[in-house]
């Protein structure tokens, strides 16, 4: 289906105007149902405005979807929270009153849960709150961060993500901003340099390792990275993946054993015999010569073409 253009201000339809496109069922009824489910009326949001929001969300995530997929997609959105957030972004007071009631204290609790300290939590929450209200202006119009909420997840979860991202960004900035005096006083000048990439003496080992890692599924790589790189607990990883921690434990053991087998097989494929392959596996690569390898330039994930950057 060709990319359509957005219908703005159209009252009774929420479908993209594509030549030959066929509305699914009664578009007017669908729009009305979605609007009623959202409760946008009590937030001061009109049906027109809400339809525009729905179109925006569909264009962002499923630009090429068929009509029935779009309708299904809209039904899976958090419609009520989406209406609330967009009504707030539009500056409707009834929406802000509701938003304050529900989320004012939660925002501070979220910040406190992340920073573990009250004063910085309050500062972080106030800063986010200012962004949500829309202290920034673009083309003379107040821009609220709530206009980036798309209703895929809960509004509270979205607020939590936004606060977390802001916290991580601040933390990284503070790490870079270290004065010269502080560096000398704190002995930073004696700190170890950032670790260089580890390059094995034998390229075949590197190739075998890359091949073995490449064969893993995304979830397996995620589990390995979370455990061995991020030092996350089995419980945390289990919650992320959606399985019990004992399952994660068994999976990790199986993955490591499987990786070893794959690497050994890869080394044998590359001309080593079994003994050589095992010896190569056991060698401690920390003492090998390090070199910034260009093989570190892997292809980035191409999954998110439609949305660049994060909110």
């Amino acid at each position: 289906m060709a990319k359509g253009r957005l219908l703005a201000g159209k009252i009774d339809t929420i479908r993209i105007m594509n030549p030959g496109s066929r509305p699914v069922g009664n578009a007017t009824q669908i729009a009305r149902d979605l609007y009623e489910r959202s409760g946008g009326q009590r937030y001061g949001l009109t049906q027109d405005e809400f339809c525009v929001v729905l179109e925006q969300v569909a264009v962002k995530y499923i630009p090429s979807a068929a009509e029935d997929e779009r309708v299904q997609f809209w039904h899976e959105l958090k419609l009520e929270e989406l209406a609330l957030a967009r009504a707030c972004a539009a500056g409707h007071d009834p929406a802000w009153e509701v938003f304050l009631t529900r989320y004012r204290e939660k925002l501070h609790d979220i910040a406190r849960g992340i920073t573990k300290e009250d004063s910085s939590a309050r500062e972080l929450a106030d800063s986010i709150y200012g962004d949500l209200y829309g202290t920034a202006e673009r083309d003379g119009r107040r821009v609220s961060r709530l206009s980036f909420y798309m209703g895929r997840g809960s509004l509270e979860g979205w607020l939590r993500t936004v606060v977390t991202q802001e916290y991580i960004n601040r933390y990284r900035k503070q790490k870079r901003l270290v004065s010269l005096e502080e560096r000398e006083e704190d002995g930073v000048q004696f700190s170890a340099a950032a670790p260089d990439p580890v390059v094995p003496a034998d390229d075949r080992l590197g190739g075998a390792v890359d091949e073995a890692l490449g064969k893993l599924s995304a979830e397996d790589r995620l589990v390995l990275a979370a455990y061995y790189l991020d030092d996350r607990t089995l419980t945390e990883i289990g919650r992320l993946v959606g399985v019990h921690e004992s399952t994660i434990s068994r999976r990790l053991e199986k993955l490591v054993k499987g990786l070893r087998k794959q690497i050994l097989a890869g080394l044998v494929t590359r001309g080593m015999n079994r003994a050589q392959a095992e010896e190569a596996m056991e060698a401690d690569v920390r003492y090998l010569q390090v070199d910034v390898g260009k093989k570190l330039q892997e292809n980035p994930a191409q999954a998110f073409q439609q949305g660049k950057g994060s909110d």
């Binding site: 009590r42 009153e97 509701v98 304050l100 009631t101 529900r102 979220i110 849960g113 992340i114 980036f148 798309m150 209703g151 895929r152 997840g153 809960s154 979860g157 979205w158 939590r160 993500t161 977390t164 991202q165 991580i168 580890v198 094995p200 080992l205 390792v209 890359d210 890692l213 995304a218 979830e219 790589r221 995620l222 390995l224 990275a225 979370a226 061995y228 790189l229 991020d230 945390e236 919650r239 992320l240 434990s249 990790l252 053991e253 490591v256 990786l259 401690d284 690569v285 920390r286 570190l296 892997e298 980035p300 994930a301 191409q302 999954a303 998110f304 949305g307 950057g309 994060s310 909110d311």
Partner: protein, 459 residues
């Protein structure tokens, strides 16, 4: 867990150089498992390479997961088990056992002191223990306040008296009148505390108490909360009538019976003693609340011997009522909300099982129902709630635009309350204190009513 080689770790961390990150919506939806399979895989692919986004997801997910664990719908089977009457009774029995243990310890600690005073009184009146001792006790210089009393007799109080063999021999003899009129008590083992008896009387239907002299009806106690099966409907013995314990056969004096004497506070006097607080419980008496509320200090203040002669309990209660020092020995009770009438009235959203009965979530007013969990109150849709307070069947809930509703039948029916024409803001606090209600709004207004919400004044 097996270790990964440094090379593996290094390659795992450097394998991807993602330049495009998923937005906050996608990360949130991923953490909440709200993405379809295709998108979920895409996000997972990115997370497997991007440590920054992994950090965001983990930090975002941790408290959310804990909250979800709290409010998530519990599997029906586990919830039903937790909410069955059998579990409630088991919890009540366990709490009563804890209470008995604490009271026994308290009685043991105070036994010597009370025994000494009794012996002295006995010597002053007549040799050995006789009913006259009991009769003289109220007038024997006892500094107890002149309050009416509720006496509960354990018809099976065969607890061995600790003051002597003669007393012991007669300890098992009990007034038949008491036995015939207190079937519930008859089933209680002698070693158990009268504290336990108190609870059973509080919950048994048609509980009644008989004075020993068989006189007519006694003046009933002023009831803090009317109910069919509460202590407040117990017949109260006046001080003079308590003297009639002397009429008991043999030497079944006070110390030979399991008697827990409670004092009905005078009107206007604050309930300060342990006994007073027990009386004030009314229909809110639950063993589970009483058990944990007894602090070690309180337990020591009125420790009873094992087994439990009645007079020890009487002395213990007397000590608390009459002696300021006894009160100071049990600060825990004073502050214990379980024994404070104000605390009971002020307690809100507390169920016997520990879960709040009422709560507000996402602007909705929710009530906890057995077997169903939290359900939205019918008829309250369209209102944006922010706070709810309850005490027993009375429920106050407030929300945006100074909206306030009230129910006195646990949410079966609701009445809309109008604070005043100038009321504005969102209701942020509702405090109940008897018939007095105080409501605060986000517009810095404080509205108070002294007549259960019929009229309001703004401060």
């Amino acid at each position: 867990m097996p270790e990964l080689s440094n090379l593996l770790k290094d390659r795992l961390s450097r394998a991807g150089r993602p330049e495009v990150h998923p937005d906050a919506d996608l990360l949130t939806a991923y953490a909440e498992k709200a993405l379809p399979a295709t998108e979920r895989t895409q996000v997972m692919e990115h997370l497997s390479w991007c440590s920054q986004c992994r950090d965001v997801v983990f930090l975002t997910m941790e408290p959310a997961a804990e909250e979800a664990a709290v409010i998530a719908v519990v599997p029906a089977r586990r919830r039903r088990w937790f909410l069955t009457p059998q579990f409630g009774m088991l919890a009540a029995v366990c709490a009563m056992a804890v209470g008995i243990g604490l009271v026994v310890r308290v009685q043991t600690a105070n036994q010597n002191a009370s025994e000494k005073s009794r012996v002295q009184e006995a010597k002053a009146a007549q040799p050995g223990v006789s009913a006259g001792v009991l009769g003289q006790e109220p007038g024997a210089g006892d500094s107890r306040a002149k309050d009416s009393e509720i006496e509960i007799r354990d018809s099976k109080a065969a607890g061995a008296a600790t003051s002597g063999s003669a007393q012991t021999a007669s300890a098992g003899k009990k007034p038949e009148r008491a036995v015939s009129n207190m079937p519930q008590v008859a089933s209680i083992a002698p070693a158990r505390s009268d504290y336990v008896n108190l609870q059973l009387f509080a919950t048994a239907s048609d509980a009644s108490f008989q004075n020993t002299n068989g006189s007519g009806d006694l003046p009933s106690a002023p009831a803090p909360a009317p109910a069919a099966n509460t202590l407040t409907q117990a017949k109260i013995l006046t001080r003079e009538q308590s003297i009639t314990l002397a009429d008991l056969p043999g030497d079944a004096g006070k110390q030979n019976q399991n008697v827990l004497t409670l004092y009905q506070p005078r009107a206007g006097r604050q309930s300060a003693s342990f006994a007073d607080k027990l009386v004030d419980l009314g229909r809110h008496v639950h063993a589970k609340r009483l058990g944990p509320a007894i602090s070690q200090d309180a337990a020591r203040s009125f420790a009873m011997a094992t087994p439990l002669p009645a007079n020890n309990a009487l002395d213990a209660a007397d000590a608390l009522a009459a002696k300021p020092s006894a009160k100071s020995e049990s600060p825990g009770l004073k502050e214990s909300s379980a024994f404070s009438a104000n605390g009971l009235r002020g307690r809100s959203n507390d169920q016997d099982m520990g879960s709040p009965q009422w709560k507000v979530d996402h602007g909705k007013l929710l009530k906890f129902e057995d077997g169903r969990g939290y359900v939205e109150m019918a008829g309250t849709a369209g209102l944006e709630f922010s706070v709810v307070t309850s005490s027993g069947a009375e429920v106050w809930a407030g929300g945006s635009h100074a909206a306030l509703i009230y129910s006195n039948d646990a949410g079966a029916t609701w009445e809309k309350i109008t604070l005043g024409d100038s009321a504005s803001g969102t209701v942020v606090s509702i405090v109940m204190n008897g018939s007095s209600v105080t409501v605060k709004t986000s517009a810095n207004q404080t509205w108070s009513s002294q007549d259960d919400g019929k009229s309001w004044q703004v401060k």
